[in-house]
């Protein structure tokens, strides 16, 4: 009982060191007075009595120390005092403190941000019960061999009864327009579902319910809303169940709302049962997710699916299963791992730097440590004090770093390509903070331990003797290795950043084959919004848009110029055999080529006279002429295709469109009036900034077609930028890391050289006094630095060569073994490093050797 009580009291006393100190002061003072009284009564003089009283007590300070020791926990109390001392010391060296603290803050912050993404995307299991049981199923053709593909409805009905799975569902996601009373028409991603998706996932809607078996069987028009959509469009109305909304103009009843971040697939915003027509079409468009029975494995389930697929397709198809989470992250995991590695390297460099800075200060502090040792401090005490300094530094850096990390995370998430799953969920939560704190403490120990061990030895040795100190100075080989490593890492990171930058530059300057800069595209998704003659509507929309001030030309096209794929159809030259590969049909309005900026290289463009009743005309691209016509004269050739009921005369040739450098397909452009389309894009060329016309365009289109969803109006250039997002993102991140690595390693080089100069000051002074020229003296200190820079650059070069291939998937127009890039980074770093060294060494040039020697 008493022991526990005492333990708690001591602990409390550590927390408030000042409180009992006053009482102690008073008690010891009274004790001394009583002693003095006694001694005086025995006849001693006042001064004698005072002295004797102190002697009998055994020293006032010693008594207090004993009291404190018993009162609280000595080591804890020491730690508190060490920390206070450390803070004071750090404040006295603001430059070192700020540099070291910022290095750590950057290192820890970047790591916290990157680790959050890494953790949420790669490490955290999917947010469903028993997530390891969730699998995705894929099929592929074996005769002929095809890549992994989706399932047909028939395959799904076969697979869902596999013995390895308890529950299964399949879905296909497509864009539809949601509308209704009080809802602005908007595009939403609708997942049409077969099987019980919610039971498979193990989640049920937050509000309302899922689909009943009867609704599933009847393909009833019922929907479950995603949490975000519900918040955004229905302001989180909890009584929404039973409300009717229009999907593509058809009434659907809302039956439930999914919990936040629990929808699957994550891009879906609305779920509904698979339509009866889709079941009958049996298209290869379903993605299957299943829940394994607990006693089986993914591999065993995969073998079962393979057997089922082979039986069903008479040996022409196979199937396999993969872990659902692994499937979702497959295409980002490599990039994230590289990102994480880069962040760790940055932290490593930061640590090396701080260690170097702390170590460099050690030289100045040798005297202080030696004095402490002489005054009776044990090595353990000195070690504790030195380590608490780096811990205080790390904690300050870590706190700042986590703040910085919060900011960096928002930047990171904003920059990140949308293809990263679970992006919206990512946040700095207690788990990340815990890891961050752990990393901070480890960092503190890592940077503090080696210099502290070295310095604390002085507390034992008789280092007060200056000569003794000189003799104990070793060559700072450890620190040189650190700086060498830093340079190597910086070279690797810089090489990566330069490669990515060149790749991005290649993408930006790429010829798209059309002029994207002033284009705005509007998705004309008319289903449910308009039931008339689309051709007439298109003409009206073009006319009304062209009247907007600031608009240059307007066209309608089935696809955007950023999409080279589309309607594929077999084509033959009239009277000849079928051409050996199909062409892509591109229905466009007459002004399309001028609006998109696609050059006409021969013949004419479409005109307003190429109407429904006029003879069928077409325009081909260069790839068509080269690949399908074998280079012969295209003008005047007559083509037939099953999609158009008359022969098409070729009246012109246009250039290829090569968005993002993607090669164009053989294409046959036809007038929208002659091949009618139900939906497409309105493409608007602005005279100046395309953003400025968007508001007016929105208003005009809303008036013209009240049910039209105009939420997907965007600049075409933006679309292209998005396709570069992964490369851009990696480039920005890599450039940031490389910049930091460069900065940090230069601080390292500078620190090393100036420490070298400090420790060899005496030797240099002697050399100068004996007549060595200043240049020779400078070279003496520069030489080891140059050697380290050379070795580090070489090491980095080798590292870059071996790491390069990992970047291949992110590189466009530049290979990982690009000699220019591989050379520039080491040379650049070497040069900057020498500059840093020169800066540090110039102290030698200014010093007076005689003054130095006299001070010894």
């Amino acid at each position: 009982m008493g022991s526990l009580r005492r333990f708690l009291r001591r602990l409390v006393n550590v927390m408030r060191p000042g409180r009992d100190e006053a009482a102690l002061e008073r008690e010891v003072a009274s004790h001394v007075l009583l002693l003095e009284d006694d001694y005086r009564r025995r006849g001693l003089s006042a001064a004698e009595a005072r002295r004797s009283a102190r002697l009998a007590l055994g020293g006032i300070e010693q008594t207090k120390e004993l009291h404190r020791d018993a009162r609280a926990f000595r080591w804890l109390d020491d730690a508190r005092r060490d920390a206070t001392y450390a803070v004071r010391l750090l404040r006295h060296h603001p430059v070192v403190t700020v540099t070291a603290g910022l290095s750590l803050a950057i290192g820890i912050g970047i790591n916290a941000a990157v680790f959050s993404v890494f953790d949420w995307v790669l490490l955290r299991p999917l947010p469903y019960p028993a997530p390891h049981e969730l699998i995705r199923v894929f099929t592929a053709g074996t005769a002929p061999v095809t890549g992994p593909s989706a399932l047909t409805y028939d395959e799904f009905t076969t697979f869902r009864h596999a013995t390895a799975i308890r529950e299964a569902a399949a879905f296909t996601v497509a864009t539809r327009v949601i509308a209704g009373a009080g809802i602005d028409p908007a595009h939403v991603a609708v997942a049409r579902v077969a099987g019980d998706l919610f039971a498979t996932l193990g989640v049920s809607p937050d509000v309302g319910r899922g689909f009943t078996p009867a609704e599933m069987a009847a393909s009833a028009p019922v929907i479950v809303l995603g949490h975000d959509l519900w918040q955004r469009r229905f302001s989180g109305d909890r009584s929404i169940a039973g409300r009717s909304v229009l999907i593509d103009g058809a009434p659907h009843t809302v039956v439930g709302v999914m919990p936040s971040h629990r929808g699957y697939p994550s891009e879906a915003e609305v779920w509904r049962p698979l339509m009866a027509s889709e079941r009958e079409d049996n298209d290869r468009e379903l993605s299957m997710i299943g829940r394994l029975r607990s006693e089986t494995t993914v591999e065993r389930a995969g073998r079962e699916f393979a057997t089922l697929a082979q039986v069903a397709a008479h040996g022409a198809r196979t199937a396999w299963a993969d872990d659902a989470q692994r499937t979702d992250i497959a295409n980002v995991s490599a990039a994230l791992q590289a990102l994480f590695a880069a962040a760790m390297l940055t932290l490593l460099i930061a640590c090396a730097n701080v260690a170097a800075l702390v170590g460099a200060r050690g030289v100045d502090r040798a005297g202080e440590i030696a004095v402490r040792g002489a005054l009776g401090a044990t090595r353990a005490r000195v070690l504790g004090q030195l380590i608490s300094e780096s811990l205080v530094l790390a904690l300050a850096g870590g706190a700042l770093g986590l703040l910085f990390g919060r900011w960096a995370l928002t930047v990171l998430v904003a920059m990140a390509p949308v293809s990263i799953p679970r992006l919206a969920e990512i946040s700095l939560d207690s788990r990340i903070l815990g890891v961050g704190m752990g990393a901070t403490l480890l960092t503190g120990l890592a940077v503090g331990l080696a210099p502290a061990l070295r310095l604390s030895r002085l507390a034992e040795a008789s280092a007060l003797n200056r000569v003794g100190w000189h003799r104990t100075t070793r060559r700072p080989n450890g620190r040189r290795a650190l700086v060498l490593g830093q340079i190597a890492i910086a070279v690797v990171l810089t090489t990566g950043a330069v490669l990515l930058t060149r790749s991005l530059k290649h993408l930006v300057t790429l010829d798209n084959g059309f002029a994207a800069d002033q284009l705005v595209a509007v998705d004309l998704y008319l289903r449910g919004a308009f039931n008339g003659d689309a051709r007439q509507l298109f003409r009206e929309l073009v006319a009304t848009s062209e009247a907007i001030p600031g608009v240059q030309t307007v066209a309608v096209s089935m696809r955007l110029p950023t999409q080279v794929t589309g309607l594929r159809a077999p084509v033959r030259v009239l009277g000849e055999r079928e051409l050996n590969s199909p062409a892509t049909l591109r229905p466009v309005s007459p002004t399309y080529f001028d609006t998109a900026g696609i050059p006409i290289t021969a013949g004419r463009r479409f005109s307003n006279t190429d109407t429904e009743r006029a003879p069928r005309v077409g325009i081909v691209n260069r790839t068509f002429v080269r690949d399908l016509l074998g280079g012969r004269q295209p003008l005047g050739a007559r083509l037939t295709t099953p999609l158009i009921n008359d022969a098409v005369s070729i009246v012109g040739v246009v250039g290829d469109v090569t968005p993002r450098g993607e090669p164009d397909r053989p294409a046959l452009y036809v007038p929208v009036d002659q091949l009618s389309i139900g939906s497409g894009y309105l493409i608007v060329r602005a005279q100046h900034d395309p953003r400025s016309i968007i508001p007016a365009l929105t208003t005009r289109l809303r008036t013209a077609v009240p049910g039209l969803a105009v939420d997907r109006m965007r600049r075409v250039a933006e679309e292209l930028e998005e396709s570069r997002a992964v490369t851009r993102f990696s480039t920005q991140v890599a450039a940031t890391f490389a910049g930091l690595a460069l900065l940090l390693s230069m601080i390292g080089v500078y620190g090393l050289t100036s420490a070298d100069v400090s420790t060899r000051w005496r030797e240099l002074a002697v050399r100068l006094a004996l007549g060595a020229s200043r240049r020779e003296a400078v070279w003496t200190v520069m030489r080891p630095c140059a050697a380290i820079l050379g070795a580090g650059s070489a090491l980095g070069f080798l590292g870059a060569v071996s790491v390069g291939p990992a970047l291949t998937s992110l590189l466009h127009g530049v290979g990982p073994a690009d000699w220019f890039t591989l050379t520039i980074a080491p040379v650049l770093l070497g040069a900057i490093g020498m500059l840093a060294a020169v800066l540090a060494a110039t102290r030698v040039l200014r010093a007076d050797p005689a003054a130095t020697l006299r001070s010894e």
């Binding site: 009274s30 004993l66 020791d69």
Partner: protein, 116 residues
């Protein structure tokens, strides 16, 4: 620790200081630290010298365990001093400690008698 005297002195066995303080407070009633030290010196008859300051850890320890209780009072000479009294828990602990001491001392004594 600073060494505090030239005369060779008998070291107190670890833990005995607590026993001594508790016993002193039981027999003499409330005492301040100096009073306890003086009593100790009186009994010891110079056979061992004690830095009076070394009493404090014991006082802190005992007070934290709840075995003694301190309060500020005035001495007969009108000086203020912190007086300690033994608590009920302290009295129980003392009985316990005396018992333990006597058993271990008895063992050692018997052992020494046998050897002699």
């Amino acid at each position: 620790m600073p060494s505090s005297g030239d005369a060779p002195r008998v070291e107190l066995l670890p833990g005995t200081l607590d026993l001594i303080v508790l016993r002193t407070l039981t027999t003499m009633g409330p005492q301040h630290a100096y009073g306890i030290a003086a009593r100790l010196a009186q009994i010891a008859e110079q056979s061992f010298r004690l830095n009076q300051g070394t009493l404090y850890p014991a006082l802190v320890r005992l007070e934290q365990r709840g075995w003694i209780k301190g309060s500020w009072q005035t001495t007969e000479n009108n000086r203020e001093a912190r007086y300690y009294v033994i608590t009920k828990a302290g009295a129980r602990a003392l009985a316990d400690q005396i018992d333990r001491w006597q058993r271990s001392a008895g063992l050692v004594n018997r052992l020494l008698a046998d050897e002699a």
